[in-house]
């Protein structure tokens, strides 16, 4: 793949760690945030829509992938359709001074899809470690929770599981016009 033809439309570099998306990158993001064209040559198709060569499109996508702006280009299955109907947001109260050590260990469990440190809101919300777990039965989810409990051991100062009762809204990323 040839290098991106130019960076002349890039904004000038600054100190920000975030990726400087050019106007063209933003157009490409807008055009692909709903998904890739389903045709034999999707990057050529995008190029036609943007007035770019397919190489340029591929190069820009690769650059965003390398910079982490794109996590990956992939298919995202509807987990309900795959039989994963039990999706629990497990929340844990662990000592702040240990969370950087415990968090990654919880995150690397196969059953955990997302794992974050988030702020507590005392006295209403004492939990600082969030881990989403998924199962095909309540029993499977209960086992996942037990696995996390065992891992945290004495450092678990309390936990709860929140199940979703209803999806009220679900949309993908939407970039507003301009930018």
């Amino acid at each position: 793949m040839s290098a991106c033809s130019s960076t002349s439309d890039m904004e000038s570099p600054n100190e920000s760690p975030s990726f400087q998306a050019s106007r063209i990158d933003r157009e490409l993001i807008r055009l692909t945030q709903e998904g890739l064209p389903l045709c034999p040559h999707p990057y050529h198709k995008l190029g036609e829509q943007l007035g770019l060569s397919a190489d340029e499109v591929m190069c820009r996508l690769q650059r965003m992938l390398d910079a982490g702006v794109i996590r990956r280009i992939a298919a995202v299955p509807n987990h309900y359709r795959l039989g994963y109907k039990f999706n629990g947001m497990t929340v844990w109260n662990v000592p702040d001074e240990l969370i950087s050590e415990l968090g990654p260990r919880v995150g690397e469990l196969r059953c955990v899809s997302h794992c974050y440190h988030r702020p507590r809101h005392l006295p209403h919300w004492p939990y600082n470690l969030f881990a989403m777990v998924h199962g095909r039965s309540q029993d499977e989810v209960d086992k996942h929770i037990q696995t996390i409990k065992d891992l945290l051991g004495e450092h678990n100062r309390g936990n709860e599981v929140l199940f979703s009762k209803r999806i009220l809204k679900k949309t993908g990323l939407r970039l507003a016009a301009g930018g």
Partner: protein, 147 residues
């Protein structure tokens, strides 16, 4: 969904190539024709077995921000408040959950300051407190399923 569909999803949830003929490349790996792979992915998207197929963008790397926030809303006001919350374009997902904090939503904005603006706006519009829980650290993100 048959075994071939499962094989396709299993393969494509991890990644998709950036090449001139990416579908042909994946198809040959799976022992399918390019046309059959495209037909199947199109069907899986249409019947919503796949919720997405394409680049998954990380808005933070573009200077934007995501946050998780929750509210405690009484049952009798719940649907009305949900409607107010959902009307804001910055609300990406919203779930009802079984807890005293019963409404959980993701706020996505194009600037870091945008999140607190949305939180303030929601509190004004609804009259309920919004518990903002931005991620302080991310330990793992990867939604992969055994098929």
């Amino acid at each position: 969904m048959d075994e071939i569909d499962r094989t396709i999803i299993r393969e494509l949830q991890y990644g998709f190539p950036i090449t001139d003929s990416p579908f042909a490349e994946v198809a040959s790996r799976l022992g399918l024709s390019e046309a059959e792979l495209l037909d199947r992915i199109t069907r899986l998207r249409e019947d919503n077995t796949l919720t997405r197929f394409g680049p998954m963008y990380q808005i933070e790397r573009l200077g934007g921000a995501f946050s998780l926030a929750a509210m405690s809303v009484p049952a009798e006001a719940f649907d009305q408040i949900a409607e107010i919350v959902n009307q804001l374009p910055e609300i990406a997902h919203n779930y009802e959950r079984n807890h005293e904090l019963n409404m959980w939503f993701v706020i996505a904005t194009e600037s870091v300051e945008g999140v607190s603006e949305v939180v303030d706006k929601l509190e004004q519009l609804t009259g309920y407190k919004v518990f903002n829980m931005p991620k302080l650290e991310e330990y793992y993100v990867g939604l992969f399923f055994d098929l």
